[in-house]
Amino acid sequence: MTKSRLGASFGSLLRNSTSIIMAAGIGVTAAFATAGTAQAEDASVKIGFVTFLSGGAAGPFGVPARNAAELMIQSINSGAIPAPYGTAGVGGAKIDPIFVDENSKQKNADYLKLVEKDGVDMVVGYISSGSCKAIAPEAEKAQKLTILFDCGTPQIFEDIVTDPKYTFRTGGHATMDNVAAARYLQQQDVSLDSIAGINQNYAWGQDSWRDFSQSVLQLKDGATVSTEQFPKIYAGQYGSEVSAILTSKPNVVHSSFWGGDMEAFIIQGSARGVFERSKVVLTTGETAMHRLGGQMPNGTVIGARGPHGDLAPESELNDWFRKAYFDRFGTLPTYPSYKMAQALLGVKAAADKAGSADQDAIIGALRGLEWEGPSGKVTMALANGHQAIQDTAYGTYMYDKDAGKATLVDIVRFPAECVNPPAGVTSIDWIKGGFQGAACD
């Protein structure tokens, strides 16, 4: 029936140009409409996954996250995860995934398509903060459970959706990364007299540098900023920036570069001695450490946007996750993989607790929930139980030449309450106010 309708409208399309506009409009849309509406099985929960599958963020973030999603879906459905997640399915329902590329200009329309046409029960995804800003209000409007698993901007629940019902974020926001970086340097007795930054010129880089430099100014009297570099994202060529850093002779160089940009900076910077002359802190360095091996200079301070990857505490769950991931994909999981696993385990924990994969049941149980992920305890403590807080950790890179293995030493853990603002305080006010209420043991 669909076919004949479409055929007919194409016929009229050719015959009569005055009726073309309506013919095309009605004919095509009608055809797609009838093709829509998904058939839901009884014991399945359909989840839409949105991550970068193309473009510069695909390699370091999107694809590792998708891989982790695939692994976790299979393991959850078959009940292969260690306790307490040994039961099959989420609340007894099997996960039926659909993957979508975040690299799109019509993110909101794509989101609605997932909700309306594909009939997903929930959406898990969004790496870019810009995406999260656009999607969070849309999720509230569409009244669909949406779990932001990675994006970093603190604004989501501070400004954009102040009274969330359907939106959750299972990862900590970026403030924690940079406050912890500053505290780590202080604890390791690194001189903070003069700091320099090289960060990408977009919201993520600007926010990261602001949080880090402000934190250092709070922690160390008389600290000065020697140079602030903001190259374009994906620039790849940092010759001039490296020269500018070298001429300004800082004690510490901070960078929130990620993916290819970070690796390019490590190669170009280490070739020219930046890492020897200054202490370099890379807030997302963990994603590169096993790839670069001996090429990453020893002594580099490494973060993972949470206690993920090599910074994760020992646990049965973590061991299982690392092994299962490595067996399947041939590489160790990096923090985007951890964050995806964390999000899905949160969903499972909530659904199992509620005993149902029903949207309202999951929302009710997920709010304020505390669960164990592969990188330790996660608590939905902020924004009325919708924003997770988590401990974080930093470590110093050390390459074991003989074993050919990258390791982290001098790992320091920071309790969530030490590096996150308390509920109701915006991040930057909290830093500038001297970390009021921070509980660091």
């Binding site: 060529q237 001039s240 020219r272």
Partner: protein, 298 residues
């Protein structure tokens, strides 16, 4: 003084990379009047194949010195094959079409190349740092610079000089200049214009791939690097004058120095320094600095 010297060296290094990355584009435009967006795809192919080949080679533990040979070789093979396929398989059927339409064709080719690259090499990034480290560094006013950077500058000069010599001193080059001047007349004079087009496109593709291949040891080769180079190289050749080899060199130097100066003197302007320069140059010289004079046809 220190800053001025740093700007000069950094600017030159960046300019060399820009020139190598955009000379293929200006060559193809000059001869064929095609603004080749697929250039970004050739650049990425060159970078991937070079990083991949160097990675395989150094994994065998063989001396790093020979890995330098892999760079032009990778560019030659990757650019040559891809260029030939695109020209013979697609563009051949489109000659004589509108310039704007050709932009769209090459854009479609670019999209396809992006995913082909992804299908061949996956989404993981490739690093092949060995050549960049091999010769160590030299210090200029206390700042270490990699010797590899100067090798790139040398290569850029070499490529520019050879193109100049081929175009102006050889019979083939002179014939090519005739084709550039007037396609129709040269065809009437018995010059095989189609052959010239094929060869030019393949050479342009190889040069694009060389830009990627030579920079691969300095960067992390990852998806999306092709898209980044397109607008940058457009800016360079527009500033210099579309289709002019010397113009591309001047354009690269101007853009390179502008970027280096903004990084050292006023970092926040780095993001749009290139476009600012481009707008400024075009406002004064509407057809770029070294535009080929075109007779107005009544």
């Amino acid at each position: 003084m220190l800053t001025a010297i740093a700007i000069a060296v950094d600017g030159l290094g960046f300019a060399a990379w820009l020139f190598l990355s955009s000379v293929g584009l200006t060559l193809i435009y000059g001869v064929m009047r095609i603004l080749n967006i697929a250039h970004g795809g050739f650049y990425a192919l060159g970078a991937y194949s070079s990083a991949w080949a160097i990675g395989l080679y150094t994994a065998t533990g063989s001396p790093v010195a020979f890995s330098f040979l892999l760079i032009p070789l990778a560019a030659l093979i990757a650019g040559g094959i891809a260029g030939l396929l695109v020209e013979r398989g697609i563009l051949k059927f489109m000659y004589g079409r509108d310039e704007v339409l050709m932009v769209l064709v090459t854009y479609a080719v670019f999209l396809i190349l992006e995913d082909v690259t992804k299908l061949i090499w996956g989404t993981e990034s490739y690093i092949a740092w060995q050549p960049a480290f091999h010769f160590g560094t030299v210090e200029i006013v206390g700042i270490p610079y990699t010797v590899y950077k100067f090798l790139i500058i040398g290569t850029a000069l070499l490529v520019g000089l050879s193109l100049f010599l081929v175009l102006n001193k050889t019979r083939v080059g002179k014939l090519l200049l005739v084709v550039i001047e007037d396609r129709e007349i040269s065809s009437a004079l018995g010059i095989n214009v189609t052959l010239f087009f094929s060869v030019t496109f393949v050479v342009g593709a190889i040069l694009g791939a060389l830009g990627g291949a030579i920079t691969a040891p300095e960067i992390s080769v990852s998806p999306g690097i092709g898209a980044e180079i397109i607008v940058l190289s457009f800016a360079v050749i527009v500033i210099g004058g579309m289709g002019s080899i010397g113009g591309a060199m001047i354009g690269a130097v101007i853009v390179g120095f502008a970027r280096a100066a903004s990084v050292h003197l006023y970092p926040p302007a780095e993001l749009f320094s290139i476009y600012l320069v481009m707008a400024a140059v075009l406002a004064v010289k509407p057809y770029g600095l070294f535009a080929l004079a075109e007779s107005r046809k009544i």
